[in-house]
């Protein structure tokens, strides 16, 4: 019985590992890192996690469907670039709207190619990533773009409530909304069924193609929104392709750490967000120690590697225990015990 309780506790810890790891890292760094536990730094930490947090929403959804979208980084950059590019003519609202529309179109193409043409999403989004990088460079001329108006940027970054500038509030709202949508609405629950068991989805009368297309559209739109908000809050967008790869890698790592498997049918947007917070916290804390970007990268790699190895171990254990019936074993033991008692 005692052993059972420990296993139960362990499972619970695993279920909330992103949150626990984030809290652990935050606590540790608050105690030891200089200038970490300050009002200002906590705000900047939340702000820094806003881009990856928003992108991770759509990315988690794609993982739940059992697919992969490698083009999110490129979408972030291209759609982010559209905002300062179009702002002089269309204003902020127009620019952001255009960025979202562009994101939706990209997602639609991805979704149609995966669902209707039947090409694997790995291939489609890999090709799309290369195409979008080309488009982005042609649009921006290979350099960064900026506008001189800082009104929206000031509003997005000035805390409305203590600790919480609008950018962070928007991120919270999106993560919460997406989580409610996935957990509580029939449409949202459908994603889990389609990703987990396509045959069951077919039996349940769910149109797999439509879910796939919708999933890719949502993923690209959230990526576009993340990019647009980043561009709006900076009033500029970098043309450096490193942002694309770094976003993709961080989000991918975060989704895995959050406990969403590549195989589909499982996952949680909130946990992905906590994992994004974890990675941002670790990077931020390393910065507080005065160490550079290289150590942040190293740390992120080690965290991801540890989680991947742990997942492998869990699967290995699962396969070992496959076919074993613990309750039957317990029955057997009891029987043996009573037998031995009887013989005595």
């Amino acid at each position: 019985m005692h052993k059972g309780r420990i296993t139960e506790l362990f499972r619970g810890m695993d279920r909330h590992r992103a949150l626990l790891m984030f809290l652990g890292a935050y606590l540790f760094l608050s105690l030891f890192a200089p200038h970490f536990f300050t009002f200002y730094n906590t705000t900047s930490l939340l702000k820094a996690s806003s881009l990856n947090g928003i992108v991770a929403i759509g990315f988690t959804l794609i993982f739940i469907l059992g697919e992969l979208d490698l083009s999110v980084g490129a979408v972030v950059m291209l759609c982010g670039m559209l905002v300062p590019g179009l702002q002089p003519e269309l204003g902020w609202a127009g620019g952001i709207l255009c960025a979202l529309l562009a994101g939706a179109c990209i997602g639609l193409v991805n979704g149609l190619l995966v669902a209707k043409a039947g090409i694997s999403s790995f291939i489609v989004t890999l090709g799309m990533m290369v195409i979008l990088e080309g488009v982005m460079h042609i649009y921006s001329g290979g350099s960064s773009m900026s506008v001189a108006s800082f009104g929206l940027a000031d509003w997005l970054d000035r805390p409305l409530l203590p600790l919480l500038p609008p950018r962070v509030i928007i991120t919270f709202a999106l993560v919460g909304g997406a989580s409610l949508f996935l957990q509580k609405t029939p449409l949202g629950r459908g994603f889990f069924i389609v990703g987990g068991d396509p045959e069951m989805a077919w039996r349940a009368g769910l149109n797999r193609d439509r879910y796939l297309i919708l999933g890719f559209v949502i993923c690209s739109v959230t990526a576009a929104l993340g990019g647009a908000l980043l561009a709006a809050s900076l009033s500029s967008m970098t043309g450096d392709a490193v942002l694309a790869t770094r976003t993709l890698m961080t989000v991918l790592a975060a989704v895995i750490i959050g406990g969403t498997p590549l195989t589909g049918g499982k996952g949680s947007v909130v946990k992905s967000y906590f994992a994004v917070l974890l990675l941002t916290t670790v990077s931020n804390g390393i910065g507080c120690f005065g160490l550079g970007f290289e150590v942040q990268m190293f740390a992120n790699g080690v965290i991801l590697a540890a989680v991947v190895l742990y997942e492998a171990y869990v699967i290995y254990r699962h396969n070992l225990l496959k076919g074993q019936r613990p309750h039957l074993l317990a029955d057997l033991e009891q029987e043996q015990e009573s037998n031995s008692r009887g013989s005595r």
């Binding site: 790995f122 291939i123 080309g134 890698m249 590549l262 990268m297 790699g301 190895l309």
Partner: protein, 327 residues
């Protein structure tokens, strides 16, 4: 005897026909685009331009063939072996090359251990490795490039000449690529390892049940990919005359592109080396023709991406095959 030989060649062309049809198409297009296209000098240049990618693809194909999608740590292996070679040049040319190759193999062994022995997810694990290897290299060499000394007579000058060496009209790097492709073909189709890899790629449980040491096979496949990547890294460092952490950027995705274009399915257990070579040729020809057309590199990206999706679509499009067959 001759008849059988012709027969096997015909079969070979039919089986790998699809990608070579594209090669033929591109060659015809190229000869229309420019009169210089079909000259031996241009064709050798073309081969030289794709040689580095070809070597990477020849190794990566084993990972894909064994059903493990791709080795995304290839860029960091390339960079690491390049840096280590340049750093150990003071010991002499041959020791430097050996150290460079070995350090690439160390990373490969790490991948093989985690993915093969422990069963970690290949994409995620190799991604994590590329993360911390880049961090490690940035930290150790403080974000900087390192240069070999190129004074005449030093190992450094010989090392820099490595990429620029010609055997008659054919550059050394092209010879290396062709030799590696032939060796890889032999390894894949005519040795125990290749056949076992095929079975592991087709069905891991079946391979395990038939007594194949799956862990060892996967380990060796990742080691092969790392070996090819470290050879590329050495030549790339020799070409650029420097070693730096970002040297291999982009080679992972280009390598996957070549392998998949060549008809190795992401599912594993299907494909062959001549096909992969065809995939490499398609990439080379496409770039070459677009260069002749005077297209900027950003437009080239758009074309390459679209062609990639299109070719894979046509390649994997099988009538009456239920559902998507790859990945």
């Amino acid at each position: 005897m001759t008849k059988r030989w012709v027969h096997s060649w015909l079969r070979f062309i039919l089986e790998n026909g699809r990608i070579y049809l594209f090669v033929l198409l591109l060659v015809i297009m190229g000869s229309f685009v420019s009169s210089e296209f079909l000259t031996p000098a241009n064709l050798v240049n073309l081969l030289k331009a794709v040689a580095l990618l070809g070597i990477v693809a020849a190794g990566m194909a084993f990972v894909t063939y064994s059903g493990h999608l791709a080795d995304l740590s290839v860029p960091s292996i390339i960079a690491f072996s390049g840096i280590m070679t340049v750093a150990s040049l003071p010991l002499g040319l041959v020791p430097a090359l050996v150290i460079g190759t070995l350090s690439g193999l160390v990373v490969g062994a790490m991948n093989g251990l985690a993915v093969g022995m422990l069963g970690a997810n290949p994409i995620l694990w190799t991604l994590a490795v590329s993360f911390f290897m880049e961090g490690f290299m940035r930290f150790t060499w403080s974000n900087d490039q390192i240069y070999p000394s190129t004074d005449p007579g030093t190992p450094g000058s010989a090392f820099v000449q490595l990429y620029r060496l010609d055997f008659g009209p054919v550059p050394l790097i092209v010879v290396v690529m062709l030799v590696l492709f032939i060796a890889a073909h032999f390894l894949m189709k005519h040795t125990r390892l290749g056949v076992e890899t095929r079975l592991v790629g087709s069905s891991r449980p079946a391979a395990k049940a038939s007594g194949i040491n799956v862990k060892k096979v996967v380990f060796l496949d990742f080691l092969l990919a790392a070996f090819a990547a470290s050879v590329t890294g050495i030549f790339l460092a020799s070409m650029n005359k420097l070693g730096v952490f970002y040297l291999g950027d982009g080679y992972a995705f280009e390598g996957v592109t070549a392998v998949v274009l060549g008809g190795v399915t992401l599912e594993g257990g299907e494909g062959n080396m001549p096909g992969v070579f065809g995939g490499v040729l398609v990439i080379g020809l496409l770039t070459n023709i677009l260069n002749y057309l005077g297209m900027g590199s950003f437009y080239q990206k758009i074309v390459t991406g679209s062609v990639f999706i299109l070719v894979v679509w046509l390649h994997h499009c099988r009538p009456h095959a239920g559902g998507s067959s790859d990945a």
